[in-house]
């Protein structure tokens, strides 16, 4: 573990150079420890794959002292990480042709039928490695190497909210309609971000995520939207 200052009031903690479930677990357990032990100083905290960026209030503490306190706090956090029990989040997904916008491209690239792609995607348990890009956008890994696929050459201008996508060895859901270049394989009816809700997003760092396949009727019953008008717009873009 290495702690370095990045600007006047922020430090970055590097836990490892490689992305592994163990590192994700260590980071997930360190975040609440930093938040509770140093809460009078911490302004914001950004966990990612192998690091945590922490900004603090310079009026209450100096850079040197904050770094020392952090070091001390984290040496204790390591013991806690072994006990961590990751939360499991189960999300329903409709993999139907109306919403799997890149099914053809994925099949062509992988040489699999879309049914095979779905089976592989839905039978893997993922970890939340990072949250970013947009509010509530969680980077989940790793996908099975058989369905590895690069991002689209030209990103879509509008990816519908709830779209489940894959890129490289990762999978993610777009919480809100936004531009995006990942390959879309399905859609969840679950609302992923709500600024009115206490915990804002269903994801948290280090959590385990599984996808459950649902049919169209269930998708619609759960409030899922097929958005035909958005689809036609996208065909124009592509």
């Amino acid at each position: 573990m290495k702690i370095s200052a990045v600007n006047e009031n922020s430090v970055i903690i590097y836990f490892s150079d490689v992305v592994t479930p163990e590192t994700a677990g260590e980071i997930a357990s360190a975040v609440p420890v930093i938040q509770s032990q140093l809460k009078e100083h911490v302004v914001d905290i950004i966990p990612s794959y192998t690091s945590i960026l922490v900004s603090f209030d310079l009026v209450s503490i100096g850079l040197r002292e904050f770094t020392q306190r952090l070091q001390h706090t984290l040496s204790r956090a390591k013991k806690i990480s072994r006990k961590l029990e990751a939360k499991t989040i189960e999300l329903p997904v409709y993999y139907g042709e109306e919403v799997a916008l890149d099914a053809d491209e994925i099949c062509e690239h992988t040489g699999l039928t879309f049914e095979e792609v779905i089976n592989i995607h839905a039978s893997t348990t993922y970890r939340v490695y990072a949250i970013g890009f947009a509010p509530g956008f969680a980077y989940l890994g790793n996908t099975d190497s058989r369905i590895e696929i690069p991002r689209k050459q030209t990103p879509r201008l509008k990816v519908p909210a709830g779209s489940l996508a894959i890129a490289d060895r990762q999978t993610a859901i777009y919480p809100k309609q936004s531009p995006g270049g990942w390959q879309i394989i399905g859609r969840t009816p679950v609302s992923l971000i709500d600024f009115e809700r206490e915990n804002l997003t269903v994801f948290e760092m280090g959590a385990q995520v599984t996808f459950t396949r649902i049919d169209k009727a269930t998708f619609l019953k759960m409030g899922g939207v097929l958005l035909p008008e958005a689809l036609s717009e996208q065909r124009e873009v592509a």
Partner: protein, 322 residues
């Protein structure tokens, strides 16, 4: 009581110091691009540091006050007029019901701040009024919209404040040739000595590709030995070096994580200077010692926080009618 926006100009946004504590789920902080000017506007009115103001970008802004109050204008000089009378920025003014403020175009710089006594009273989703359009958060309705003509922005009616002026020593000139202080950090060690020298000895130009998220520069390309980097948290002022070698300085509305190598961070003082630079401005970088930068920043923050509540204990009278 309200302020009525007559013309919003290209971009006028409600901002406080920013939205903190939610970057872990990908929410950008937002906040004033020129924090120095923002903090002075609140100080002129003995407001809390975090009181909400209007950040006017590129001028063409006008508004009408529906109740008396004291206002302050800081930042770029946009030829402000109060009821057709020219007024200068970095000063507070008393306004009466029906007074009109107009800002035309900036003589130098590009952002002005308009503060009212007690701050504008707007929703604070996730504890901040800061407008981040991309995240659909903050602003007049809380949903990330910029100000539009006919918008009504609430404020409280206060006892008239003493009219104050910022000491000239603290008023920047908004030159379009600036030297920004850089704290070497992040992947600094992954840039060769030669590349670092090139970075610190070159002059870069601000391109038109600049917004509240980041400022793209053009000039001598810099290369990093490290080609792959696992995405990590991006601090305010981080200088990203993408594959084309052209630096991007990340600003208030930056994304929370990213995977480009970073040579260091521009200091908060430098970011306030950069906030007033137009496309075409010339930028040079100079290395700044981390602990010196920290001390400068701490002194500045203490200076702006120390006066709050001491200068004026008068009660704010809230009038509901308009």
């Amino acid at each position: 009581m309200t302020l009525r926006i007559l013309t919003p100009g290209p971009l006028s946004l409600l901002q406080d110091l920013g939205r903190y504590g939610h970057q872990s789920i990908g929410v950008s902080t937002g906040g004033p691009m020129d924090e120095h000017a923002f903090l002075w506007a609140n100080r002129l009115l003995s407001n809390e540091c975090n009181a909400t103001q209007i950040e006017v970008t590129m001028g063409q802004f006008s508004c009408e006050f529906y109740a008396k109050t004291t206002i302050a204008i800081t930042g770029a000089d946009m030829g402000a007029k109060l009821n057709d009378q020219a007024i200068t920025p970095w000063q507070s003014y008393l306004v009466k019901q029906g007074d009109r403020l107009t800002l035309s175009t900036a003589k130098s710089g590009m952002r002005s701040y308009l503060a009212v006594k007690g701050g504008f009273q707007v929703p604070t989703p996730l504890n901040s009024s800061a407008t981040v359009m991309r995240d659909a958060l903050g602003g007049l309705q809380g949903s990330g919209s910029k100000l539009e003509a006919r918008d009504l922005v609430r404020y409280s009616v206060g006892k008239p404040e003493l009219v104050k002026r910022v000491p000239p020593h603290f008023i920047p000139s908004y030159d379009q040739t600036v030297t920004l202080e850089v704290i070497p950090s992040y992947q600094y060690q992954d840039f060769t000595v030669e590349q670092r020298e090139r970075f610190f000895s070159s002059t870069y130009t601000v391109t038109p590709k600049m917004d509240r998220m980041g400022c793209r520069l053009a000039g001598e390309p810099i290369s990093c030995q490290r080609k792959t980097l696992v995405s990590e948290g991006i601090a305010l002022g981080a200088i990203q070096i993408p594959a084309d070698g052209q630096p991007i300085i990340l600003l208030r509305d930056r994304q929370t994580i990213g995977g480009y190598p970073k040579i260091g961070c521009v200091t908060s003082k430098g970011l306030s200077q950069l906030a007033q630079c137009l496309p075409g401005a010339k930028i040079q970088f100079v290395e700044k010692d981390l602990y010196q930068a920290e001390a400068d920043r701490a002194i500045e923050q203490q200076f702006f926080q120390s006066y709050v509540g001491k200068a004026n204990h008068s009660k704010i009278e809230v009038e509901e009618s308009s």
